[in-house]
Symmetry: D3
Subunit: 139 residues, 6 copies
Amino acid sequence: MKTSVFRKEHFNAAHRLHNPHWSPQKNEQIFGKCNNPNFHGHNYDLIVQVIGEIDPETGYVMDMKVLSDIIKENILDRFDHKNLNMEVSEFQNLNPTAENIALVIWQILKEKINTLINPNLAIKVKLYETERNFVEVPA
Amino acid sequence: MKTSVFRKEHFNAAHRLHNPHWSPQKNEQIFGKCNNPNFHGHNYDLIVQVIGEIDPETGYVMDMKVLSDIIKENILDRFDHKNLNMEVSEFQNLNPTAENIALVIWQILKEKINTLINPNLAIKVKLYETERNFVEVPA
Amino acid sequence: MKTSVFRKEHFNAAHRLHNPHWSPQKNEQIFGKCNNPNFHGHNYDLIVQVIGEIDPETGYVMDMKVLSDIIKENILDRFDHKNLNMEVSEFQNLNPTAENIALVIWQILKEKINTLINPNLAIKVKLYETERNFVEVPA
Amino acid sequence: MKTSVFRKEHFNAAHRLHNPHWSPQKNEQIFGKCNNPNFHGHNYDLIVQVIGEIDPETGYVMDMKVLSDIIKENILDRFDHKNLNMEVSEFQNLNPTAENIALVIWQILKEKINTLINPNLAIKVKLYETERNFVEVPA
Amino acid sequence: MKTSVFRKEHFNAAHRLHNPHWSPQKNEQIFGKCNNPNFHGHNYDLIVQVIGEIDPETGYVMDMKVLSDIIKENILDRFDHKNLNMEVSEFQNLNPTAENIALVIWQILKEKINTLINPNLAIKVKLYETERNFVEVPA
Amino acid sequence: MKTSVFRKEHFNAAHRLHNPHWSPQKNEQIFGKCNNPNFHGHNYDLIVQVIGEIDPETGYVMDMKVLSDIIKENILDRFDHKNLNMEVSEFQNLNPTAENIALVIWQILKEKINTLINPNLAIKVKLYETERNFVEVPA
């Protein structure tokens, strides 16, 4: 029977929502305060879900210490205390909305976990931008 | 790939659980303290989930400010600081259990979001009556 | 050295803010939605703090099971799933604001704990009406 | 339409992760601090989800008081303030990882709820070992 | 008897820790990742405590709606979705550590509340930079 | 003006409440389930408060990274994933109630912080044994 394991991590970052193909007026109209050119920031809470079978030898779907290390090396060390627009390469040409940040994290972790640990593990990512606004990929 | 966005809101209301086709004894037996004819109340935490594709122009599944405004106008302004049994029309003939409140909210928001925003967005509603009792529709 | 122990409990109740010596207009102006004559309600989170010396025999300031039982018998059994204005005698002539509810709880528990357990224990009461509005007596 | 109801409970227990077919070195290597032969412990938060149709008579998928009583009798009374390895029979020959504890709880509750309440209700169990490590069965 | 009322609000902002009288090396050594010249950010949770007597007419120490409006006008409208170093005048020459942000908020709110509402009300400010790092002024 | 800074940490441990000078019957009567000779356990949340003046050079009362390191080295490395009764020397002859655990932590940290950092800093320790039972020293 398929079982999910979840690991919660967090990082703090600055960002700005902006579409370079739009006028300043349209950016202001769509993104409001989030378009501030001087940036604002968040404490992002990240929950990574890994779905697979329980290994009868260990009783684990996946070692949570290993999962935590993979998240740290591939996400936290690159995103934490950073300006996402200026310092994280994936957002050079991608608007760092919560949806897109979660999608990027999902793509990175899925590739790492399926390559390093087990190609049969499925991954989901839930990202809290605030306590009241959050996203999940895939739905 | 389908992505979910979530918005958390809250409202405070009084209610009473009661089936008018039952005797007072049966109401008391089934609903216990929740049948108190003088009402009791809750802080309801409401999480609305909207499922769709990320718009490449905005990076949004749906603008969370718009979602928050739709919830405010259609749910909070009608439910907050109200007596659900006496003042919210949907519960004139429907017992305001957490299940039924969530179902009513889901029906209202689904119709509004599919009409006003996008007919392809799917909706789910999670309602916390207390920190320990909560419901989700659809399952 | 003085040490504090804390016990968190909760109850759900309906209430209405109202000053019978004021006009309906003034009640509406001061209390707004909280003046709704049909009542509204809350999940109240209650934290009772007891301050004293650690007993060297037990390692306890006070047995938390006993504290929980005193709160249950004297507060929860009288307040939970009740209409505070109509069913709790202390609010017959006292407006059930968070401040006054906390004050009433403090008076009841202080008398019980000092009589039943130890006259030297000091008491403080913190009451959350919502996650964002809360009070403490004494300050 | 299928609706979910959720009940949150908690218990405190000691445990140790250990595979008796492995050497002490391999146990230490795989389970690290969790292999401590003197045990460590957790506050486990347990969320039981029951999925079914809303009963039009009650407005309930299932009476949450009855669900709470079933969890108390079958899980909390057997697991709370216990040493899982030494005192809970299901873990005599099963490593008490979060995954396996959740699986055992799911098996017990599914059998009880389908027998006592309704054979058509589906069950899911989410178990928080810490705020940052948790599992769900089935996925 | 003195009673406290508390109002919780929040804002999201970017900041950078930096002492312009120090070398880049010393700034890096003392402030580490928080010295990033491209800024990072936080969801700040703000709890404002007001201490005074309960008014027998209203049952309030202070109307929480008025308190919320004062916080919104004087703090949130100026700090939320802003770059604290670049856009909030108080931090032109003051390092925006959690301690200093809380101190600035305390000075602003104390002056407003004592002038507009009541000179006898005492104020305390608690500011959460993350769930794990927070400050309070005065101690 | 005195300012407080707070750092939240956590550890997981097994323990048993027991007074060796009492009969098994009295231990069972006073400590109930907590007297289980096979131990039970908790996720302990620890909040350390440091009270002092804000340093005008750094804007800090105390560097939270240094505080976190002191807590890790002196408390977490000795208490986390341990059996408090069997493996932590301070509880060889001291009952590991929440009150006594908090007192021991306070004594250790006060000595370290006053020696290593600043003799004028005052310390308080808040320890959550569960979400509903917690203690603070000094009161």
